[in-house]
């Protein structure tokens, strides 16, 4: 069977994870990679699962969660993905400044144009302050200094501060 991508998003309350994962376990669906967090008060879950059932069966089984209208649930079959043979070198991009439209669009365009692949990205809006933290894989042969210079140029146009450097990982 294809992996199933499940999303649950809506009003936060205690028990959403417990109820969702109970339904999946009872269906024999194994929860593999997932991320679950609160986004401006909404609870958001993204799960990749495997099991001998269809996405439609999963969605029907989870329908009870959405019955009161405060949560939205979806389940879709997705293609199995192989891990990339070469992940590239990891870099961390952090951005902060006054909130305005297009910060993520402009900076991620610069990363994409350099061949960089964003593997994880978090944004937080805190009053007027907008913060972006992104993990970027750069393929071998990409010049990180050149991308850093480009990101600085884009950040000046957006009037935000940007830091771009190797992602530190200590092997202990």
């Amino acid at each position: 069977m294809s992996p199933i991508a499940i999303t649950v998003i809506g009003h936060d309350r205690p028990g959403i994870i417990a109820e969702t994962t109970r339904v999946l376990a009872d269906l024999g669906v194994n929860l593999e990679d997932s991320t679950m967090t609160r986004l401006r008060g909404h609870f958001a879950m993204m799960l990749i699962c495997s099991g001998a059932v269809s996405a439609d069966e999963v969605e029907r089984a989870l329908a009870g969660l959405a019955a009161d209208g405060t949560l939205r649930v979806s389940a879709r079959e997705v293609a199995a993905e192989e891990p990339l043979a070469e992940a590239g070198r990891p870099y961390l991009l952090t951005v902060h400044g006054g909130d305005r439209l297009g910060i993520v669009a402009a900076l991620t365009r610069a990363v994409a144009d350099a061949g960089g692949n964003i593997t994880d990205l978090t944004t937080r809006l805190s009053g007027e302050l907008y913060v972006v933290v992104a993990e970027v894989d750069l393929p071998a042969g990409t010049d990180p200094d050149r991308l850093g210079t480009e990101l600085k140029q884009v950040s000046r146009e957006l009037d935000v501060d940007v830091t771009f450097g190797p992602q530190e990982a200590d092997v202990l």
Binding site: R38, L92, T94, H96, G97, G98, D120, L121, T122, R124, S126, G127, E128, L129, Y130, V131, V133, A134, E135, V160, D161, T163, Q167, E168, D170
Partner: protein, 181 residues
């Protein structure tokens, strides 16, 4: 005079409680100017930083730029904090520079200028810093560790125009600040 023996009484002026600047504000994003430790404005700001730090709950350090002054100086006092090992009490350093920083450890930190977020940041836990005391201008060296090292590095970063947001350890290392009532 050793840093441990210093107190704000040496300044001979009354500190005022100032408003703390919050991000995004340009003064937090640019390197502060070197100061003359004997300049009366620097002496007054040293007293103001200590006074403002003292009335701010949980505050263990405050840099000039955090009260809107782009001057390379900060106050620190980690006395009584549970993560403190070595402590030099209350002190203010002008034009501080890191001489040696080793044994990095990751910990979650916040900032009065970024009141609603925290982040995991790796910082050295063994640290040697040089600077000058406000007023006398005496050159001093501070050798410290643990939480005082983290506080010093956080404040020196402010003087260089960096926030903890610039040092956060990864995309999942940024958090809404928990407020405990």
């Amino acid at each position: 005079m050793s840093v441990r023996d210093w107190s704000e009484r040496e300044l001979g002026v009354q500190g005022r409680v100032l408003d703390v600047v919050r991000a995004p504000h340009p003064v937090l994003s640019s390197a502060s100017r070197s100061v003359d430790p004997a300049d009366p404005r620097v002496i007054q700001l040293a007293a103001d930083l200590v006074a403002t730090m003292r009335v701010s709950p949980g505050c263990v350090g405050l840099a000039g730029c955090q009260v809107g002054a782009d001057l390379h100086m900060f106050s620190v006092d980690v006395t009584g904090h549970p993560k403190t090992r070595t402590s030099h009490g209350t002190f203010v350093l002008c034009n501080a520079r890191v001489v040696e920083a080793t044994r990095k450890e990751k910990a979650r930190e916040g900032c009065m200028s970024v009141p609603d977020l925290t982040g995991d940041v790796k910082r050295a836990t063994r640290l040697t810093v040089t600077g000058q005391l406000p007023g006398s201008g005496e050159d001093v060296t501070v050798e410290t560790d643990a939480f005082e090292a983290r506080a010093l590095l956080h404040e020196i970063d402010h003087c260089d125009g960096f926030l903890f947001l610039d040092r956060v350890a990864g995309a999942h290392a940024l958090y809404p600040r928990k407020t405990y009532l």
